[in-house]
């Protein structure tokens, strides 16, 4: 976590960027929020519809479903949670978290997948 901050020595106080959520800015974003909301609704319907479509195997269906869900989650995170324009520091926290969650998923899977057999 040090890289982010080492340059930002307070002795050479780095001027903060103007807050991205300035008053005028915000009014501009409203339309975007509504659109994303609409998009999420549409993709919810798509998720449901896709689940009744046979992609050849159940695994494929799960993969498609998760892909769509990840996309939706990405929208929520990027737009509603302002991650698309967030500070460096928050990204760093989240990168590590994501990595460790994936480790948790992946290794429990691997351990299940690689047992001792005769």
């Amino acid at each position: 976590m040090n890289e982010s901050n080492s340059p930002a020595a307070s002795e050479s106080v780095v001027q903060a960027h103007p807050e991205h959520d300035d008053h005028h800015d915000v009014s501009k974003h409203i339309k975007k929020y509504l659109m994303v909301g609409g998009l999420l609704m549409i993709f919810t319907i798509i998720t449901v519809a896709l689940s009744y479509f046979d992609f050849g195997s159940h695994k494929a269906n799960i993969a498609v479903g998760m892909l769509v869900a990840t996309f939706k989650a990405g929208l929520v995170a990027a737009i509603f949670m302002h991650l698309s324009a967030e500070r460096h520091l928050v990204y760093q926290i989240l990168i590590f978290t994501t990595f460790f969650v994936l480790v948790l998923f992946w290794l429990t899977y691997l351990a299940w997948y690689d047992p001792v057999v005769r």
Binding site: P115, V116, V117, R118
Partner: protein, 307 residues
């Protein structure tokens, strides 16, 4: 094919002699890592003691702002990495591969199923036909601890023995380990072999005994109040003794020698100590401290708190 018995440190630290074919390799890893640790320990200790004396305040009243300027520690750390890598890649990983992947041919091996339960081991042997009978949950009872179906074509001649397993010397033994209730660990220290017995899973393990004798089977995983006394015996016989034992068992008609009695803490009335568990396996004063270590064939001390 025992290589030179190199286990100096291990012996010095009291490790009992190895009795299996692969065991010396495990001992070597323990040995080598202890040499490695010892070198680091002695080296740093010498440095440490010297420094504490040489740089005490009365001897060195003014500290040096800089201290050590050379890069010795980098070399040292590099050496540590190197040695660990050698131990890992050269010894540990291949040996594990051998232990869990390269199972011996089942035709030469003795096949056994070991089923753990609170607090004892059930051994299921295939009998003369060499086939294991069906086991079913619904059939489990006090007289049939492993739920063996005696009517199945493979099962009628199977042997079930409690706590004492005989195997012949110099033949690989493959044991499929599982458990009925909680996690146990099937450990035979003298064979340098151990494997968890996990309910819902069957995990195979193998070793090849190279010395006759009887060896304790330890339960290496906390499994309840009788954990400390969950003892089995692995008796390594000569080929003839083994055949004789088998014959004897077959004449007895299989089935458990003594059905392990079961006693669960949870079921006893509130506050009531379990019957006799205090006197339990703790031997009375004056009794020989060691269960007869040569006692091949003598009844094995029973698992659970005895009456």
């Amino acid at each position: 094919m025992i290589s030179a018995p190199l286990a100096l440190i291990n012996e010095f630290l009291g490790q009992p002699p190895n009795a299996s074919e692969h065991g010396y390799q495990i001992d070597h890893i323990i040995e080598f890592s202890h040499w490695f640790m010892g070198a680091l320990f002695v080296g740093w200790s010498a440095f440490f003691v010297y420094v504490l004396i040489r740089f005490r305040k009365s001897r060195n009243p003014v500290a040096d702002h800089e201290g050590v300027k050379n890069g010795v520690s980098t070399h040292l750390e590099f050496a540590v990495v190197l040695i660990e890598a050698v131990l890992l890649i050269g010894f540990a990983i291949p040996l594990w591969g051998k232990f869990v992947n390269e199972f011996p041919d089942t035709k030469d091996a003795i096949l056994v199923h070991a089923i753990g339960q609170q607090f004892g081991w059930n051994f299921h042997l295939p009998g003369p036909d060499g086939q294991f009978g069906r086991r079913e949950l619904a059939l489990v009872s006090n007289t049939n601890p492993i739920g063996l179906d005696p009517n199945s074509p493979e099962g009628h001649d199977d042997l079930v023995v409690a706590n004492e397993l005989h195997v012949p010397v110099d033949r690989p033994v493959i044991i499929d380990i599982s458990s009925k209730d909680v996690i146990h660990n099937f450990a035979v220290p003298s064979m340098r072999a151990a494997q968890d017995a996990i309910p819902g899973q069957i995990i195979p393990m193998w070793f090849k005994p190279i010395k006759t004798g009887s060896y304790e089977i330890v339960c290496g995983q906390l499994c309840g109040l009788g954990h400390y006394s969950m003892k089995g015996m692995l008796v390594v016989d000569t080929q003839e003794e083994y055949q004789e034992w088998l014959k004897e068992r077959i004449e007895l008609g299989g089935g458990p020698v003594q059905p392990p009695t079961e006693e669960r803490v949870a079921d006893r009335p509130e506050g009531e100590p379990p019957p006799g568990e205090i006197q339990g396996t703790v031997l009375p004063p004056g009794a020989p401290k060691v269960a007869d270590p040569t006692g091949a064939g003598t009844p094995v001390p029973q698992n659970q708190p005895p009456p």
